[in-house]
């Protein structure tokens, strides 16, 4: 009896770990970073699993929204010369001896 319970528990753990690994691969596929055999296996799984396919489609929509965000191409709001001057001023200040006598 106890052995049967243990076996059922172990099976649930195994299925849970497999599910987590699949979900991680689905996320990485949506992020465009899954390669090789893992990518092929995950694509095949998506064909057979509507839940994972729906999750993948939602994640892809999020990724696409980020990849089309105009912020990616934003130009700095000040000319380079202005920024260089700010940095040089700060560098100058950081090199000045501390606690200069008045």
């Amino acid at each position: 009896m106890i052995l049967a319970h243990l076996l059922v528990g172990a099976k649930h753990l195994l299925v849970g770990a497999q599910h987590l690994r699949r979900r991680r691969r689905v996320s990485l596929l949506a992020a465009g970073v899954l390669e090789g055999r893992e990518r092929e296996e995950t694509l095949a799984h998506l064909e057979a699993c509507p839940r994972c396919r729906a999750a993948h489609d939602e994640l892809r929509a999020i990724v696409a929204a980020m990849e089309h965000d105009p912020l990616r191409e934003a130009e700095p709001p000040v000319p380079l010369a202005f920024l260089v001057a700010r940095v040089e001023r700060e560098v100058e200040r950081s090199l000045a001896p501390a606690g200069r006598p008045r």
């Binding site: 105009p70 260089v84 560098v91």
Partner: protein, 191 residues
Amino acid sequence: MEPSRGGAGDRELMARLAAGDREALAPLMERHYRRLYRIALSYLRQPDDALDVVQEAFVKAFQSASRWDGSAEAGPWLARITVNLAIDRWRRNRRRAQTFTPLAENDHAASLADLGPSPDHRVQGREAGERVAAALAGLPERQRAVVVLRHYQDMSLEEIAGALEMSLGTVKSSLHRALGRMRVALAGGRP
């Protein structure tokens, strides 16, 4: 990440900075300031804050140039400084409660559906971007940094691992968890 525009040029400029040559700052900034600004802006989403972070990053680069590993690329090293400064700035802003306004309750249910195609592409794109930005703002700091470097800077997992000083496995887990959290946030808490 942007293609390298000549590692040797960067190395030479970094060597000059390490020797205390302030004249090397301007050409180094010219090569990298746009990319660093976009990293900071994607993380903070505030142009003034992003500009301050870029300024701090170059000051820090000058101060730390003597400790720079001469065999390393300057681009990822500068990206690392910038991301860490952006995270610090984000923490300070959060403490001052100047962060994002959360999504309105009734915005949640339709959020994921609204990310799909729409006839008015420009408006749809902007609104989708704002919803996704709000979900991004709700992520833990490091997960947020991983998402920004991957999806706003197109960095590879290896480059992200280098920039954030994380293992490759941690970068993968962080990306998976972050995208999962964003999905839940945009679906109004539905897993």
